[in-house]
C-alpha cells in the first residue's frame, strides 16, 4: 500500500520528517503522562488506551523520519515561496496570539477589526484603509447580531463594544 509518491520535493520531505519528529515528542509526552496516572480499581484504567497510542505514535513518527531520510537524497527542489513567507506566517501567529490576549481588554469590535486587517494585509490586500473599513463593518455587524440581537456576550472594551 505504501506507494512512493511521484518525486516528492525537498520541502515536502523535510516537513513530513518534521511532523514525524513532532509525533516522537508527542509519543514521549503521552507515555510519560500515562505512566503517571494512578491505577484505579476498574477493569480497565485510565492509562490502558494512552499507552498503546503513545507507542504507536513513536513507531509511526519514527517511520515518517526514516521515510524522509530515504527520500531526501532524490528529492527535487519545489516551487519557491514568495518573499518574506516565513515572517508573514510568524506575523499571522503573532496576530492570533495578540488577539487572544487583547480581546478581554479592548473588546470584540476593535480586536476583531485588527485581526481582520492584519490577516488581509499579510495575505496581500492592496489598500489599508479599505481593508480597515471592511474589517470594522464585519466586526460591528457580527457584534450587533451576536451580542445585541442573539445575546451571546462578547467581550467589551471600556467604550462599551
Amino acid at each position: 500500500m505504501t506507494e512512493t509518491e511521484p518525486a516528492p520535493d525537498r520541502r515536502t520531505v523535510l516537513s513530513s520528517g518534521a511532523f514525524g519528529a513532532v509525533m516522537l515528542v508527542a509519543s514521549v509526552l503521552v507515555i510519560v503522562d500515562a505512566v503517571r496516572l494512578p491505577d484505579t480499581s476498574g477493569a480497565v484504567g485510565p492509562a490502558a488506551v494512552p499507552l498503546p497510542v503513545g507507542v504507536l505514535l513513536g513507531v509511526v513518527g519514527g517511520g515518517l523520519l526514516v521515510q524522509a531520510r530515504l527520500q531526501l537524497a532524490r528529492a527535487a527542489d519545489g516551487e519557491p515561496w514568495q518573499r518574506g513567507a516565513g515572517p508573514r506566517v510568524l506575523g499571522m501567529v503573532a496576530a492570533l496570539v495578540a488577539f487572544a490576549l487583547l480581546l478581554p481588554v479592548l473588546g470584540y469590535v476593535l480586536t476583531s477589526t485588527a485581526l481582520f486587517v492584519a490577516a488581509a494585509m499579510l495575505l496581500g490586500a492592496p489598500s489599508f484603509w479599505r481593508t480597515v473599513a471592511y474589517g470594522w463593518a464585519l466586526a460591528a455587524i457580527v457584534f450587533l447580531v451576536f451580542d445585541r440581537v442573539i445575546g451571546l456576550s462578547l467581550p467589551t472594551g471600556p467604550w462599551g463594544f
Partner: protein, 500 residues
C-alpha cells in the same frame, strides 16, 4: 386516528401564515449559523431560548426545528467553497466538494448537497413519522458492546479516507486520537495530557481542531505561496446539475440516508460517523473510483445525505423516549420543557396536536430550505470571486468567534493558533488532515464504550461478542476486511479480462 390522519391535522395547523413566517425565520437563521464555522445550531437555539419565552410554543418550536435542519444544510456550504467545514458533520464533504469547487464545479457540488439534504431529511422525517417507535426500540438496544462493534466498523472503513500514503494517513489518524485523549478521563475523572492547564480539562473542542486544520492552514498556505490576491477557484459552468451528475448522485443520496437515519437515532451515534461510512461506501461502489480525491460527486452527495438523515434520526429518541442524543437535541429538549412539554413515551398522547404540528413543520422547513438553497447555490458560489485575502481574513474573524463561543477562554484561541501551525506542517508534508478529525471523533467514543463494556463485565472480553447486533456488526467488520483485500484483486482481474 392513525399517524397519517394526525399528520394531516398537523399540516392544517402548521400552514398558517404566522407559522410559515416563523419557519422561514428559523431556516434562514439556521442556514446562516450553519455557514459560519464554529457557530452551530446548539449554541444558537440556546441563545435564542430566553428571547422566545414570549412566543406561542408552536411558533418557537417551529422556528427551532427550522434552525436545526437549516444548520445541517448550511454546514456544507463553506466546506465546499472554502475547504472550511461549518460543522464537524460536514468535514467529509470537503474531501470531494472542495475539489469540485476548485475545478469550477462549485454550483454542482452545492446543488447535489442541497438536493441530497432535502431527499435525506424528507425520508428521515417520513421515517420519524411512521417508524419512530420501532427505531427507538432499536436505538435503546445499543449498549456499550454494540458501540464497540460499531466503532470497529467505522475504523475499518476509515482506510478509504487515508489518502495515497498509508503511513501518512495513519500518522494523521493517530495525531487525532492523541488530541482526543486530552482532558478529563470520563470513566475515572483523571486529567490526561492537560499539563496543569485548567482550560484543557474539558478537552479540545472538535470545532477548534476542524477550524485550525482546515481554515487556518489554508490561510497559512496562501501566506507562503503569495496567492492571496487570487480568487480561490474559477467558476466555469452554467447548468447546476447535469444529467450524469444526477444519475450518479441519487443512489448516493439514498445510501447516505440509509446509513444516516439509524445511526443518527443511536444515543451515541452522532451525525459524523455515518458520513465516514457513507464516503467509504461510495468510494467502494463507485464506477469511477479514480475520481475520488479529485472531485467525485458521489463523495459529496452521500455524506451530505447521511448527515441530514442523521439529524432527523436524532429526533427519534428525543421525541419518543425523551433522550437527547446530541448537544442540539439537549437544547431542544430544554426548549420543550420550558413550554411544559415533556418529550417521552407520553408526549404523543399528552401534547399530540403540538407534536404533529412540529413534525409537519419539519416537512415544510425542508421544502423551504430547498427553495432557499438551490437558488442560493449560485449566489454562494459567487463568494469565490472575492480575492483570498478578504475571504480568509473573514473566515478568521468567524473562526475566532466560533472558538470563543465554544470555549470562552484565551487558551482556546492559543490552542487554535498552535493547531493551525500543526495543520500547516501537515499541509506542507503532504499529510492529509481529514483522518486526524476522524481519529478525534472516533477515538474517544471507542475508548469510552470499550471501557464501559469491560467495567460492566468485570473485565471479561466475551461481553464484546454478546447479543445479536454485535455479532452482525462484527460480521460486517470481517466482510469489510475481506472486501478491502479481495476487491482490488477482483478489479485487477476484471480489468485484465476486459483488456484481453
Amino acid at each position: 386516528m392513525d399517524s397519517f390522519g394526525l399528520l394531516m391535522d398537523g399540516f392544517a395547523a402548521a400552514v398558517t401564515p404566522e407559522h410559515l413566517l416563523w419557519a422561514l425565520i428559523g431556516v434562514t437563521i439556521g442556514t446562516a449559523v450553519g455557514v459560519l464555522p464554529g457557530v452551530g445550531p446548539a449554541l444558537t437555539v440556546a441563545l435564542l431560548l430566553p428571547i422566545t419565552f414570549r412566543l406561542d410554543p408552536a411558533n418557537a418550536l417551529i422556528m427551532f426545528a427550522g434552525i436545526y435542519y437549516g444548520g445541517m444544510y448550511g454546514g456544507s456550504t463553506t466546506a465546499i467553497l472554502l475547504n472550511t467545514p461549518g460543522e464537524s458533520a460536514s468535514m467529509i464533504t470537503t474531501l470531494e466538494g472542495n475539489k469540485m469547487a476548485r475545478a469550477g464545479r462549485a454550483a454542482a457540488a452545492l446543488a447535489t448537497a442541497a438536493i441530497g439534504s432535502f431527499v435525506a431529511a424528507t425520508i428521515g422525517t417520513v421515517a420519524l413519522t411512521f417508524l419512530a417507535p420501532v427505531v427507538a426500540d432499536f436505538a435503546t438496544s445499543f449498549g456499550p458492546p454494540e458501540y464497540v462493534a460499531l466503532m470497529a466498523v467505522a475504523f475499518v472503513t476509515v482506510s478509504a479516507l487515508l489518502g495515497r500514503s498509508l503511513l501518512k494517513g495513519v500518522a494523521s489518524l493517530l495525531v487525532g486520537v492523541t488530541i482526543g485523549l486530552i482532558g478529563i478521563d470520563t470513566q475515572t475523572g483523571q486529567p490526561r495530557l492537560t499539563f496543569g492547564i485548567d482550560s484543557l480539562l474539558d478537552g479540545v473542542d472538535v470545532v477548534i481542531v476542524v477550524i485550525a486544520l482546515f481554515a487556518l492552514s489554508e490561510a497559512f498556505g496562501h501566506l507562503l505561496t503569495g496567492t492571496g490576491h487570487t480568487t480561490v477557484a474559477p467558476l466555469r459552468e452554467r447548468a447546476v446539475l447535469s444529467r450524469s451528475d444526477l444519475r450518479r448522485s441519487w443512489p448516493a443520496w439514498l445510501r447516505g440516508t440509509a446509513l444516516g437515519f439509524p445511526i443518527g437515532s443511536l444515543p451515541a451515534g452522532g451525525a459524523e460517523v455515518p458520513t465516514f461510512l457513507s464516503y467509504a461506501t461510495e468510494k467502494k461502489l463507485s464506477k469511477h473510483p479514480e475520481e475520488f480525491g479529485h472531485g467525485a460527486i458521489e463523495g459529496v452527495a452521500g455524506p451530505e445525505a447521511a448527515n441530514n438523515a442523521a439529524a432527523a434520526g436524532v429526533l427519534v429518541p428525543l421525541l419518543t423516549i425523551g433522550l437527547p442524543t446530541s448537544a442540539t437535541a439537549a437544547v431542544i429538549l430544554t426548549a420543550f420543557q420550558s413550554y411544559g412539554l415533556q418529550p417521552g413515551p407520553q408526549l404523543f398522547s399528552e401534547s399530540g396536536p403540538l407534536v404533529w404540528t412540529l413534525i409537519a413543520s419539519l416537512y415544510i422547513g425542508n421544502v423551504m430550505l430547498l427553495l432557499l438553497n438551490l437558488p442560493l447555490a449560485k449566489v454562494w458560489a459567487r463568494l469565490l470571486t472575492i480575492p483570498s485575502y478578504g475571504l480568509y481574513a473573514g473566515v478568521l474573524v468567524f473562526a475566532t468567534l466560533g472558538t470563543f463561543a465554544a470555549g470562552g477562554t484565551a487558551v482556546d484561541l492559543l490552542v487554535l493558533a498552535a493547531l493551525g501551525l500543526l495543520g500547516l506542517l501537515m499541509r506542507l508534508g503532504g499529510i492529509p488532515v481529514a483522518p486526524a478529525v476522524v481519529g478525534l471523533i472516533l477515538g474517544p467514543i471507542a475508548e469510552e464504550q470499550l471501557r464501559r463494556a469491560l467495567t460492566l463485565s468485570e473485565g471479561d472480553p466475551s461481553i464484546l461478542f454478546s447479543g445479536g447486533i454485535t455479532i452482525v456488526l462484527w460480521v460486517v467488520v470481517a466482510l469489510a476486511l475481506i472486501g478491502s483485500l479481495a476487491l482490488p484483486a477482483l478489479r485487477r482481474r476484471a480489468a485484465t479480462r476486459d483488456r484481453g
